[in-house]
């Protein structure tokens, strides 16, 4: 065999430089669009620093969760088999991939930071002022990716195969960065100041060093199963098999399997039984997530004004999370591939029941939260309540992407028409949410302005979208 040059898949400089070029382009262009967006989502924050400080700590803590769910790396099957499962050094093989992940996410975070600044200070945006926030975002993202890697090793390392990954020093080292961040905030510090920024820099660099040191002990079992799911996902993307893509995506992100049915009881009405049977997590996990999202919403309603565009958007995001959580059972049902069997003739009533249950729960939470605001500010209460409703509906639309009306559509218009339909449906949820957010931030739901043309039009668009997106399902199943 003649000698050939081989390119290590993890060291393609031209690819990396091109990514860097795109990131730079984004960093320059996106603030411009962000500034224009600020006209649609008005906001007049006095200070964004406390919010950014908290976001940095939340990001670092989220990385621990991400580590538990499989860490930041994705390696192809060939990579796992021929590079990581062979006699080659795992650190040597994973080092370029880890750095690439970190640089990519850090670049995205830096751009995101600039856009955030443009959104929160409309009309006053300057490139020079965006540098600090971009640096903070960049460091926070680097730290988060490293932490995710570190905690993946801590959680997943096999004590026999990679004993170092479980030693006390490694666990202690993994705790250093989160503790430094919490310490900065606990001492009334801020990452915007010189010492805060230095602490963030040290924490990020330390995390990167610990993560690289631990790369030799990365267990490959999850990388293998993730690689297999990725390969399937690639082929399902090529064939626009949206439902299979959703399934694969679950496997790629190590979404836990159904762990039990803590609430389901045989005496329950069928729609309610179906709702609670498909819970993907334990009851405690479900309630914790709902509780956290509800607490965040309560904090935003009490301490800030939803008429600020960014607050309204964050509020909508939290509400969508609640909506998604409540819609999980529907998503889980739709995930089943032989869905025609499960959604047999006459099951429309069950699905309507699920929808109804999710909406009722969301509205109950919304009512409880907004009741206290009602006396002082009926417009805010109305707006918040509407956000709950639209958020839940939007999440339900998302959850029903794989629903059986798709099969009806395919048999009527042919399989090639499925792709656009599914993408349109996938987009309709966020669009409905955004419409409601804009409507509220522009105070269209104030009682005195309720009758304005724009207010009515926005409301009609949001609800029409909800009705149109959901109607075909029930219709086809009767």
């Amino acid at each position: 065999m003649s000698a050939t040059t081989t390119a290590t898949p993890g060291s393609r400089l031209s690819d990396d430089l091109y990514s860097l070029y795109l990131a730079g382009l984004g960093w320059l262009l996106l603030p411009f669009y962000g500034d224009r967006m600020a006209d649609v989502l008005p906001s007049d924050f006095v200070s964004i620093e406390p919010g950014v400080d908290i976001a940095v700590v939340v990001l670092a803590l989220t990385a621990i969760w991400s580590g538990f769910r499989g860490g930041p790396l994705m390696v192809s099957r060939a990579g796992v088999l021929h590079e990581l499962a062979s006699g080659a050094s795992r650190r040597q093989m994973l080092y370029p991939r880890f750095l690439r992940q970190m640089v990519a996410r850090a670049a995205i975070a830096a751009i995101g930071g600039t856009v955030f600044l443009a959104l929160t200070t409309p009309g006053e945006f300057e490139v020079s002022s965006s540098i600090t926030i971009s640096v903070i975002a960049l460091l926070a993202a680097s730290l988060a990716v490293s932490q995710s890697m570190i905690w993946h090793i801590v959680f997943s390392a096999d004590s026999e195969q990679s004993p170092q990954g479980r030693t006390p020093w490694f666990v202690a080292a993994s705790l250093v960065a989160p503790l430094v961040l919490i310490l900065v905030l606990a001492t009334n510090g801020s990452f915007f100041g010189g010492s805060g920024l230095l602490a963030l820099l040290v924490a990020a660099l330390f995390s990167v060093a610990v993560a690289i040191a631990g790369l030799d002990w990365v267990p490959i079992e999850r990388l293998w199963s993730r690689a297999r799911a990725l390969e399937t996902m690639r082929s399902s993307m090529q064939t626009v098999d949206f439902q299979q893509m959703l399934l694969d995506m679950r496997k790629v992100t190590d979404r836990p399997r159904v762990v039990g049915r803590p609430l389901a009881r045989s005496w329950m009405p069928t729609p309610l039984w179906r709702q609670v049977t498909a819970l993907q997590h334990g009851l405690a996990g479900q309630l914790t997530r709902l509780g956290l999202a509800a607490a965040a919403i309560a904090a935003m309603l009490i301490y800030s004004d939803p008429r600020h565009g960014v607050v309204a958007l964050a509020l909508a995001g939290c509400i969508a999370m609640i909506g998604f959580d409540l819609a999980v059972p529907i998503a889980a049902t739709a995930d089943q591939l032989p869905f025609l069997v499960h959604y047999r003739h006459g099951s429309a009533r069950v699905l309507q029941g699920q929808t109804f249950t999710a909406v009722v729960v969301a509205m109950s939470i919304g009512l409880a939260l907004t009741a206290s605001l009602w006396a002082e500010s009926s417009d805010l209460a109305t707006g918040a309540l509407l956000l709950f409703l639209v958020g839940t509906l939007a999440a339900l639309m998302q959850a029903r992407i794989g629903s059986p009306d798709v099969s009806r559509w395919a048999s009527t218009f042919g399989p090639n028409s499925l792709g656009p339909l599914l993408w349109a449906r996938a987009l309709s949820g966020p669009l409905a949410l955004l419409a409601a957010t804009v409507a509220i931030s522009h105070q269209y739901f104030r009682p005195d302005e309720f009758a304005t043309t724009w207010g009515n039009l926005t409301m009609v668009v949001a609800f029409s979208l909800a009705v149109v997106t959901m109607q075909p399902l029930e219709k086809s199943l009767r």
Partner: protein, 206 residues
């Protein structure tokens, strides 16, 4: 060469594989047989270190699976070939060999290329290959680095008759020279030439 003790693999409450004690000595050309879903692939991925046992121990060449000595001794060729899309077969073979400290692919893989009549594939990319050709490429890349234990998941699937027989001959010779071959298969000819037939039923060795 391969020693398995009190091995168990379970997903939640469902146990998919349970092996009390089992070993393969150097010179074994063993086949795993059993119905679909019996646990053949699970056992192979456990031996290859690509899945973690729920309990129990696997030693390869006296080293725990997953540790470097065991990784160096073992190579695995899955039923769906694992290939780098952006490298030709020849480049992949060389890359895999170099990763493991060799300047050239093993003599085993080069001879296999000749016997499988796969030399024309060496300069091609995997995406432009048929199923059988990909299978051949997977075998060549998988065996391009030094190994003592060769694990194969349905290795003859998709191969033409001549190539099948050539592969079976090559595996037998490797075992006769002191290596260990373990293949999961439904191929009667591969089973006939095996030195040991290991039957798995419902996750247990029969």
């Amino acid at each position: 060469m391969i020693r398995v003790k009190k091995l168990k693999k379970a997903y939640g409450r469902v146990t998919v594989l349970q092996v009390d004690e089992w070993r393969l000595r150097p010179g074994s050309n063993a086949v795993l047989v059993g119905h679909n879903g019996a646990g053949k692939t699970t056992l192979l991925t456990l031996l290859a270190g690509l899945a973690r046992p729920t309990s129990g121990a696997i030693l390869i060449d006296d080293s725990a699976v997953g540790l470097r000595p065991a990784r160096e001794a073992t190579t695995f060729v899955p039923d769906q070939p694992a290939l780098f899309d952006d490298l030709t077969v020849q480049e992949q073979m060389l890359y895999v060999a170099k990763l493991n400290g060799e300047s050239e692919p093993t003599g085993f893989s080069l001879e296999l290329a000749e016997r499988l009549d796969a030399e024309a594939l060496l300069t091609r990319f995997p995406q432009a290959m048929s199923k059988g050709q990909r299978q051949k490429a997977g075998l060549l890349v998988g065996t391009a680095r030094p190994f003592k234990v060769l694990l194969l998941d349905e290795p003859t699937t998709g191969l033409d008759a001549t190539s099948r027989l050539a592969l079976i001959d090559t595996l037998s010779e490797f075992a006769e020279n002191g290596g260990v071959v373990l293949s999961s298969t439904h191929d009667p000819e591969l089973i006939e030439r095996a030195t040991e037939v290991v039957e798995i039923a419902a996750g247990e060795l029969v």
